[in-house]
């Protein structure tokens, strides 16, 4: 069955340190992966998608089909990066999104 795993519920790093939020997926079809972010008191919004291969707010994520991973990385964390981050897998069969449990990222000053 399809599944998205975010092993860390909470990740706390100092400002300026590198950040890596892990995401692993299980899916037999053609995966389409996304990272969504929810800042305090704001709605859930898209951060980036693997198909675009883009860098948003300094974050990047590479789809590794061999390791079935889509880890989110940023070389130098900033305090405004503190938020909840969700990894999501879109199924090519019915376009539904399967969500990870989320990782709360706290950037310490």
């Amino acid at each position: 069955a399809q599944r998205v795993t975010q092993p860390e519920k909470l990740l706390s790093v100092f400002k300026g340190a590198p950040v890596e939020l892990k995401c692993n997926y299980s899916y037999s079809g053609s995966p389409e992966l996304f990272w969504y972010v929810q800042y305090s008191r704001q709605r859930l919004q898209l951060l980036l998608r693997h198909i675009s291969r883009e860098s948003i707010k300094g974050f990047t994520a590479d789809l590794n089909k061999g390791e079935t991973s889509f880890h989110l990385k940023k070389p130098f964390a900033q305090e405004e990066d503190s938020a909840m981050y969700y990894c999501a897998l879109r199924l090519d069969s019915n376009y539904q999104l399967i969500w990870g449990a989320g990782t709360k990222l706290i950037i310490k000053p």
Partner: protein, 113 residues
């Protein structure tokens, strides 16, 4: 401005009451979704729609029902609320196509006492 709206933002009601959570989008999207999310947990899909007169149940069993009479409107109804329905409910919409993102409303936090 194109957006997706949910009302109310917060609702506290008594057990046994009938409630309807409203969701409207002005983006012209065909696909709409309802998710249930407990604090700090993943989103669970409870209903979705591919367009007018299309409604499907999601992965999470829910006692709620939905309707899609108009493209922009996707209300969720609980006929008889129970404390176990206490949760946050998120509405979202999206277009078809690879790489398209889901746009979310602000959510409705429901408490059944």
């Amino acid at each position: 401005e194109a957006d997706i709206y949910q009302t109310p933002r917060y609702l506290v009601i008594g057990t046994g009451k009938k409630i309807t959570l409203e969701c409207s989008q002005t983006m012209g999207h065909d696909k709409m979704y309802w998710y249930q999310q407990d604090p700090g947990m993943e989103l669970h899909l409870i209903h979705y729609s591919y367009g007018v007169n299309s409604t499907e149940k999601g992965d999470l069993s829910s006692e709620s029902t939905v309707s899609r009479i108009r493209t922009e409107h996707f209300p969720l109804t609980l006929e008889s609320a129970r404390p176990s329905h206490t949760s946050q409910y998120l509405c979202a919409s999206s277009e078809w196509g690879q790489g398209t993102e889901a746009f979310f409303g602000q959510g409705t936090r429901l408490t059944v006492v």
